[in-house]
């Protein structure tokens, strides 16, 4: 891809990043931060790329370290986000307080 394509993609992604997040309620800000954190763990892909072509021992050592760190980021990020979100399931008991909330909001 040429430079202009990359710039265009970057700009569109910036707008999309803004738009997508500005709709998330503050209740979900912590899981959101955690999700974003997990997503940048895709640097694992870059780490595997450089590790897969490393020739000298130093490059290998550094890139395998990168693979290790990136794996921790991506795997841990998604698992911990899942754990947080697991807690947001509405419980059956929710109905009574949902009613209360509707009254408050009306």
């Amino acid at each position: 891809m040429d430079g202009f394509a990359l710039i265009t993609i970057t700009i569109l992604a910036v707008f999309l990043g803004f738009e997508v997040v500005s709709k998330v309620s503050s209740t979900l800000h912590t899981p959101l931060m955690s999700e974003a954190n997990a997503i940048h763990g895709i640097i694992l892909l870059g780490a595997v790329m450089v590790a897969g072509q490393a020739e000298d021992p130093l490059a290998l050592a550094l890139s395998i370290l990168a693979v290790l760190l990136a794996t921790i980021n991506v795997v841990g990020g998604f698992v911990v986000t899942d754990r947080m979100l697991l807690m947001f399931r509405s419980k059956p008991r929710a109905t009574a307080s949902a009613k209360a909330k509707t009254e408050a909001g009306a």
Binding site: M1, L6, A13, V14, L16, G17, V20, V21, S25, S26, L28, H29, T30, P31, L32, M33, A36, N37, I39, G41, I42, L44, L45, G46, A47, V48, M49, V50, A51, G52, Q53, A54, A59, L62, I64, L65, V67, L68, A70, T71, I72, N73, V74, V75, G76, G77, R83, M84, L85, M87, F88, R89, S90, R93, A94, S97, A98, A100, K101, A104
Partner: protein, 459 residues
């Protein structure tokens, strides 16, 4: 292995990018959020597997080994950690991600020649390094390993300026000479900068810093996408950079200050003086836990306002149990959640959700505020600034302009806190001296447990 043609791999990257977008989108609704997170994970897995199947890789044993070890560490850490320690775990994961981005760029220098690519490498190494040590100092502060006080020393600013100049110089040298040694220097500068950037930041500002460093790592990943000409890294990193920036600004705004003010410590220095001037000679009404139980007995509509102190005391289970018992007795109870209550935005919600409070009982500020007028009793558990009327009435106050929970509209307000000390912003709360306000002194968990047993015995 080279099974997949390059076109298929690229298509997989694009699909993964779409899955990441859907993951971020899906988080706007608690019902779809969990599935959205799985989509994101699937996207990451798809991209890495597609790459592995599309390229003849060297060192495959090492790579798989590192992935295996990393996965085990990550799963154990993510499963074992307590909910109250979530923020520091996110900080740690963020730090290793930044470190990985810096290393990737460092190794890739060997294959980079154009000045443009080298410039991007320099950026990635620096920002990745800042993110790595910055996140770990943050981790240390939250975990109590590093002091949560704002650490400053004379000449800090000068040192920072010198380091930034050194970074610029090393970056320029890297671009011109393409010598990898400059990159190591840059990394070293980044690592030191990360420490110095976060050390002077006070404990309660730390959540904002996590969010900021998260955005930093996103930028570093986007930059490595440019270095490696990989569209997925570019999109994913940019999405995180952009959304992290918005989130950081939203958090800072909710606390009535600016990101720059936090990072450069201006605000902290200003407050430091007033923090000690806590307490005043005017009388306050204190109360015992049993009195709270009696008040609860008469109340029909109750709002519980949890704050930073509830998280510190680990009183969320007790609060949830109290709410459930009251609800079983026919009392209308909700939790009123201020956007910056807790240790990081929305953290309060996660804590209460962990304690089995149904999502619908967590009422956000805008929705709960009109409700206070018809509320009999408000329990303010370990919160202070988020209910301080100074935000509305004293233009000079550091929290002036921050929206607050209007608990003063209710019939009666009871604070559960250990002393009359001020909260994070270091300012007195006039509300303590209001005739309809009482204070139960003591640790929030302790007090709530006593209230619970009284309520149970009278029921």
């Amino acid at each position: 292995m080279k099974i997949l043609p390059a076109e298929v791999v690229t298509v997989c990257y694009i699909i993964a990018a779409v899955l990441f977008i859907l993951a971020l989108k899906g988080l706007s609704n608690p019902r779809s959020a969990r599935r959205a997170n799985l989509l994101g994970a699937a996207g990451a897995a798809l991209a890495v597997i597609a790459f592995g199947l599309g390229t003849e890789l060297r060192n495959i044993g090492w790579i798989l080994g590192a992935i295996a070890v990393g996965s085990v560490i990550a799963v154990i850490a993510a499963r074992r950690v307590q909910m109250t320690q979530m923020p520091q775990l996110v900080a740690a994961f963020n730090g290793v991600g930044g470190g990985a981005a810096a290393l990737v760029a460092l190794v890739e220098i060997a294959h980079s020649d154009s000045p443009w690519t080298l410039g991007v490498v320099a950026f990635t190494v620096l920002i990745g390094g800042v993110s790595l040590t910055g996140s770990f100092v943050t981790f240390g502060k939250l975990q109590g390993i590093v002091t949560t006080r704002a650490v400053t020393f004379p000449g800090l600013r000068v040192l920072m300026v010198l380091l930034v100049i050194a970074a610029l110089a090393a970056g320029a040298a890297l671009v011109v000479t393409a010598d990898v040694l400059w990159a190591y220097l840059l990394l070293a500068v980044g690592l030191v900068l990360g420490v110095l950037l976060v050390l002077p930041i006070g404990g309660a500002d730390v959540p904002i810093v996590i969010s900021l460093l998260n955005a930093f790592t996103g930028l570093a990943v986007a930059a490595s996408g440019l270095v490696l000409s990989n569209v997925l890294l570019l999109i994913a990193g940019t999405l995180v950079g952009a959304s992290g920036t918005i989130l950081t600004m939203a958090m800072a705004k909710a606390m009535g200050r600016t990101v720059a003010g936090i990072v450069f410590g201006a605000f902290r220095a200003h407050v430091a003086g007033t923090t000690s001037s806590a307490g005043s000679d005017r009388p306050v009404r204190t109360m015992e836990a049993d009195d709270v139980a009696i008040l609860l007995d008469y109340a029909q509509r109750v709002v519980i306002v949890p704050g930073y102190g509830l998280a510190v005391a680990g009183a969320h289970h007790a609060a949830a149990e109290l709410a459930e018992i009251l609800r079983d007795q026919g009392v209308d109870v909700v939790f009123g959640i201020h956007p910056v209550a807790g240790r990081m935005p929305g953290h309060m919600n996660v804590l209460l959700a962990e304690a089995n409070v149904p999502y619908d009982a967590l009422v956000e500020m805008d929705e709960v505020n009109p409700r206070f007028k018809t509320t009999d009793l408000v329990l303010v558990v370990g919160a202070n600034d988020v209910v301080n009327p100074a935000a509305k009435t004293s233009p000079g106050s550091p929290i002036y302009g921050m929206p607050i929970l209007a608990v003063a509209d209710a019939q009666q307000v009871v604070f559960l806190k250990r002393s009359l000390n001020p909260g994070f912003a270091g300012i007195e709360n006039e509300l303590f001296y209001d005739p309809k306000v009482s204070i139960v002194l003591g640790d929030a968990k302790h007090t709530l447990t006593k209230v619970l047993s009284s309520v149970k015995s009278t029921a």
